[in-house]
Symmetry: C2
């Protein structure tokens, strides 16, 4: 057994996403051994993130605490009747980079694992429902479409199905991102599922 | 781009062992979203590890700050003329669990990558050299043997070779851990290198 304070730190690092006890142990010893300056800066960065940031009231993107809405939601030029539901902020940034989407967003803040049913508490399902029900309260127009833009993996699929059920119950038109061969993708190396979707979605 | 405070936190998490920018980003958002209590406890655990712990003056194992030596080095019943050199504290604990070793230890605090030559600054090579040169100053007997117990992988090998060169220059007898099939290991699935070592080390 390690000293109790190390064990405590391992326990907290084990709660980080994708981190098991072994990596958490490496993190704890890294923090014990790192130069004083490094750890001071890490702690002040942690403090700053907690103190200076808040979430956009519409899409839950991280924004400066003094603001109410993010740059996308505050932009009057965006179509406010189309909502793109993404897992995390990185996905929002990826879609923004395409310059192809002019609607607004909703960040779920996670995914649902098909095996852990309690995971649905970890995503903003309740908030999404409220958001759609109270869409007009924000001075926004009637929702025309919700695009479910979760990842094309098991968790993303499970999450999309869960979100889809919510939207169906609210009678909201919703779509999924198109599936097929990625740009630069070669037929020879594509899996059957991708090819099947690619064939079905042919133009 | 994320808000500057998030970017700063990502930068610090990227320095954690085995962590790249993608996982560091997940960590930063986890820290932004986690309940206040969780982050407060993480920060106080971090602080406690830094404030309450120190290193054993002989083997560099983590110990309470008010102590000078760890339980192994302080134990007069241990053979103080045999030193086992390990990469990290977890390896020391693994060897202690066997109840087969009665010597003392030296924790390197890392490994050398064969590709990054500057890595040798990250392990306690200088401290190991000093430790062996000043072994008697600690009231310890002449060193009979140093066992190099690094991992059997590329980094472990490179580290062992580096340590071996130091020990040779100091004219100290040193050995490596025996290699072969692990308990429960099946011949059919063993790689050639393991089998070769297993054959050479047959009894």
């Amino acid at each position: 057994m390690y000293p109790p304070s190390i064990e405590k730190l391992i326990h907290h690092f084990s709660k980080f996403p994708t981190i098991g006890p072994r990596t958490a142990t490496r993190f704890a010893f890294y923090c014990l051994n790192a130069p004083e300056k490094e750890i001071k800066e890490l702690m002040s960065a942690l403090q700053e993130v907690r103190n200076s940031l808040s979430f956009c009231k519409i899409c839950f993107r991280s924004i400066a605490k003094e603001k109410e809405f993010c740059s996308v939601c505050a932009n009057r030029g965006r179509e406010r009747d189309v909502i793109c539901v993404v897992e995390k902020e990185a996905d929002l940034l990826a879609i923004e980079k395409t310059n192809e989407y002019n609607g607004i967003y909703f960040i779920l803040g996670g995914t649902i694992s098909p095996l852990k049913k309690e995971d649905f508490k970890k995503i903003r399902a309740k908030e999404l429902k409220e958001r759609i029900e109270n869409h007009k309260d924000h001075g926004l127009p009637k929702i025309k479409e919700v695009i479910i833009a979760t990842n094309q993996n098991t968790e993303g699929e499970a999450t999309a199905n869960y979100v889809s059920r919510i939207l169906t119950s609210l009678n909201i038109k919703h779509t999924r991102l198109g599936r097929g061969l990625p740009t630069g993708g070669e037929l020879e190396y594509a899996d059957e599922d991708t090819l099947t979707h690619s064939l079905k979605g042919r133009k």
